[in-house]
């Protein structure tokens, strides 16, 4: 009796194991033979035309949010509506950018792959260079008149490889994105003017400290969104912040004089308690929490976040008044933050997609910059999330809860694949906070920011020396960040900066500079990122 049970159990186990292993296979074929059961009944426009089927991979940087709450993304209400509007049948997947390497290695590549950054980004794992995706020049010329008209040249250059366009970019018309936020109500209490220079900035922070502000300036680990001083002295250590010096293309932190001044300033801030003593371990979560709780007096963030901050901080501090001010200038009159690469995300078409379908896919993206698309992605569905009166005036149900905000983010961020991502004018025009944001973009941000030279695709020497390569567009190389943090904490003298540059050079920096200079001189994927 017992024997039978034993055998039965082990057989079940063995079968289960085999079934489990085999279970992966059928998934590959799913997109092809999946019935268009979703949205089949609600397609008045496309009439008899068969919807175009394709799988679409959308990138994200977070492992939470709206897309993780929806049990089946292909039955999500916004996806269904998008399918209805465009006459497509999408098989949508969302994947964290960091996991793309695994996807490419498994060779299960969707028809359309969206990824953060351009073709040379790390997450693309060299797939464009290996010919996994098709060149799009002819298709774009024929089927995407709107995109060709709207997307700036620098963006097309960024998504090109060996002279051919390989992706459709979600683009930025204005590269100046980040801004300096201040609590105007606190500033008024100090009786000071908004700071315009680094010294005035320090004085305002000191006055905040006297007022009892817990965190006069909100720092964060690795100087991410805490680089106001690095910007003022124009020594941002980022990958798109190379500059020409004596005929060579070098990283901006080679400017010893200004770098040392910037580090001295941070050190002063650290010693006087103007920044948190533990800034080396302040994560992005701590950073957001602190700002939302109304703790800092000044902080750096994307300008598009203004309406959000006004709402969130007022929940904690009802009389908070938050504004964007021009960033304090350094001795050379420079200031602000780095200019973003003109490409936010890029969408590639798998080379195995046949030409007819590829054309339809290009049209799908081209539709995204039309007024109809803008209205859908911005406001949602008429009668559901917004109403429109006879004169065309829109009344939009603004999201209130975090869940609603995330749902809006999904609709007007994640699935709105291709558009000008600088700001959403339609949405911002609706209320006061939005108008203040638009004003900040037009009056403040357009006047500041730091241009630089970047490489698309990335320098090959970067992958050889991981400690010298910037892990993301707004974080410096580990070697540099480590020394900077140690110097601010007083563990190394700031006067040693020339030694840091020597160390950088000897550990592979020489090769990076040589390659950068050659590519710049030969105009091989070296892009100067600047205001047009």
């Amino acid at each position: 009796m017992k024997k039978w049970i034993g055998m039965g159990l082990s057989l079940v186990l063995a079968m289960g194991l085999m079934a489990g292993c085999a279970g992966n296979k059928p998934e590959d074929q799913k997109p092809a033979n999946q019935k268009p059961d979703n949205g089949g009944e609600q397609q008045p426009d496309s009439g008899k035309k068969e919807p175009v089927e394709f799988s679409l991979l959308l990138p994200t940087t977070v492992s939470s949010g709206y897309h993780t709450r929806v049990p089946d993304l292909n039955k999500d209400k916004w996806v269904l509506k998008l399918e209805e509007l465009t006459g497509t049948d999408l098989d949508i997947k969302v994947m964290e950018d960091a996991k793309f390497g695994v996807m490419f290695a498994s060779n299960d590549i969707p028809d359309v792959v969206g990824s953060i950054g351009g073709p040379g980004s790390k997450s693309m794992s060299g797939s464009v260079e290996s010919g996994i995706f098709m060149p799009l020049d002819d298709l774009l010329k024929e089927h995407a008149p709107n995109l060709m008209k709207l997307i700036p040249k620098a963006a097309w250059e960024t998504v090109s490889y060996e002279g051919k366009i390989y992706g459709i970019p979600e683009f930025l018309k204005s590269p100046s994105r980040r801004a300096t936020y201040i609590r105007t109500d606190l500033l008024e209490k100090t009786g000071l003017q908004a700071p315009t220079t680094v010294d005035e900035f320090l004085n305002v922070l000191r006055a905040f400290k006297e007022l009892g502000v817990e965190t006069p300036y909100q720092m964060r680990e690795n100087f991410k969104y805490a680089d106001i001083i690095l910007g003022a002295f124009d020594v941002l250590p980022y990958k798109d912040q190379f500059e020409l010096a004596d005929g060579q293309v070098v990283p901006k932190f080679f400017d010893t004089d200004n770098m040392q001044k910037a580090l001295e300033t941070y050190k002063t801030m650290y010693e006087e308690g103007l920044i948190p003593k533990e800034f080396a371990t302040i994560s992005s979560t701590d950073f957001t929490k602190s700002i939302d709780a109304g703790k800092p007096g000044i902080w750096s963030q994307n300008a598009s976040g203004l309406p959000g901050y006004r709402t969130n901080v007022r929940n904690a501090v009802p009389d908070a008044q938050i504004d964007i001010i021009p960033s304090p200038k350094g001795p050379e009159g420079k200031g602000g933050y780095f200019y973003y690469s003109p490409v936010v995300r890029t969408f590639y078409i798998n080379k195995n997609v046949d030409e007819a379908r590829a054309a339809e896919i290009v049209k799908f993206f081209d539709w995204m910059v039309t007024p109809e698309a803008e209205e859908f992605f911005t406001f949602g569905i008429e009668g559901d999330t917004y109403t429109k009166d006879a004169s065309g005036l829109v009344t939009y149900k603004f999201p209130v809860t975090k869940e609603q905000q995330e749902e809006e983010g999904w609709r007007s961020g994640t699935i709105w694949a291709v558009h000008d991502a600088t700001y959403n004018k339609l949405r911002l025009d609706l209320n006061e906070d939005g108008k203040a944001t638009l004003a900040a973009f037009d009056d403040v941000l357009s006047q500041e920011g730091l241009p630089g030279i970047g490489f698309y695709p990335e320098l090959s020497s970067f992958s050889k020396y991981p400690d010298l390569a910037a892990p993301s567009p707004d974080v410096g190389p580990k070697l540099i960040i480590d020394h900077m943090v140690k110097m601010i904490y007083g563990k190394e003298p700031i006067s040693d900066w020339p030694k840091v540059i020597e160390e950088y050079k000897s550990k592979g920096g020489d090769e990076i500079i040589k390659e950068a200079t050659e590519r710049w001189n030969n105009k091989q994927g070296a892009v100067r990122i600047d205001i047009e």
Binding site: K3, G6, M7, L9, S10, L11, L13, A14, L17, M18, C21, A98, G101, F104, A105, K122, S125, G126, S127, S130, G131, I132, E221, N222, P276, K277, E278, A280, T281, F462, S463, P466, D467, A469, P471, K478, I481, D482, M484, V485, K486, Y489, K491, K507
Partner: protein, 317 residues
């Protein structure tokens, strides 16, 4: 003494093949039972081993193993030439050593203590409470530890300030990071580690204790002369396995605590592999490092096993 002789193990010598088949027939359910395990090891342990050949290639995921070019030992050379390699190896060895010295004995002591508890309900509650942290992910444990040790809001510094001690930035000092790593590991996993020892203790023949009590042995004496010797084989086996994993301290548990101020003493091979391999996608290079680690692990386990056989007469194989 409960010295386990190798002869305790079942050894069958078959005189003829027929004899063997007969034996297998007799015990066929055991063979069937072993199938899932064998399949598991084949698919998930043995087949992936062939993937290690990419350590000798310049691997490109789109060309695959057959299409990528062979580079011999270049990846290993690059590893040894990397300026930070020796400090990282040193950190890995030191942290592994500390783990072995300080974290390994804790579950044993905890199990012995738990075993002495008299009130069943209390024992169960304590057991459950000490297991709990095992089910938290390292990211959460990291967040908790960073919070507890924070110089401005952490409870530890709050207590220190009551004694007039200036707040200490524990995570900002090279000298504390290893203690934090080992300490958080003990907090998280030592309760879980007691399970196997408690099971071993439960298997001890109660007659031994009864006899000892008759002879007037104290509780302490009973532990020292009966419990510890009886679970010694278990301890030895776990110790050897631990030695085999000497260089595998684990990536996550270190990564959550690393920052520029403590990475000098805290960075280990696993975190470097993450940085260079997964972030920068250098598959061959990091496979080479992984292979190096496995070989060191294998060597250590063989040395440990030999040593253990000499000293205790028992080993893994």
């Amino acid at each position: 003494m409960a010295k386990v002789e190798t002869s305790d193990r079942m050894m069958y010598q078959f005189t003829t093949p027929g004899h063997k088949i007969k034996f297998m027939r007799k015990h066929w359910p055991l063979y069937v039972l072993s199938i899932p395990g064998i399949i598991f090891f084949l698919i998930f342990r043995y087949i992936p081993m062939f993937g290690s050949v990419i350590a000798f290639q310049d691997y490109n995921i789109f060309k695959g193993i057959r299409g990528s070019s062979w580079v011999g030992l270049d990846q290993f050379k690059r590893m040894l030439e990397y300026a930070e390699f020796l400090p990282i190896l040193k950190n890995t060895i030191l942290i592994g050593l500390y783990d072995l010295c300080f974290a390994f004995p804790v579950p044993i002591i905890l199990a012995l203590l738990l075993n002495e508890l008299r009130i069943m309900a209390y024992k169960r509650i304590v057991q459950t409470v000490v297991y709990m942290p095992h089910f938290l992910s390292w990211v959460i444990v990291g967040g908790v530890v960073v919070g507890v040790l924070s110089p401005s809001t952490g409870i530890v510094n709050h207590l220190l300030s009551m004694f007039g001690i200036e707040p200490i930035y524990f995570l900002g000092e090279n000298s504390y990071i290893r203690s934090i790593l080992i300490g958080s590991g003990i907090w998280k996993d030592s309760g879980w580690g007691t399970i196997i020892y408690l099971a071993a203790i439960a298997g001890i023949n109660p007659d031994l204790y009864e006899a000892a009590q008759m002879d007037g042995a104290s509780r302490f004496r009973q532990v020292a002369s009966i419990t510890v010797p009886c679970i010694l084989p278990t301890i030895v086996i776990l110790f050897l396995l631990q030695i085999g994993n000497f260089l595998d301290f684990g990536f996550e548990r270190v990564f959550v605590f690393l920052n520029p101020l403590n990475s000098e003493n805290g960075e280990i091979i696993d975190t470097y592999v993450y940085r260079a391999g997964l972030v920068d996608r250098q598959y061959s290079y990091t496979t080479a490092i992984g292979l190096f680690k496995s070989i060191v692990g294998l060597a250590l386990i063989m040395i440990g096993n030999k040593f253990s056989k000499k000293v205790t007469g028992d080993g893994l194989y």
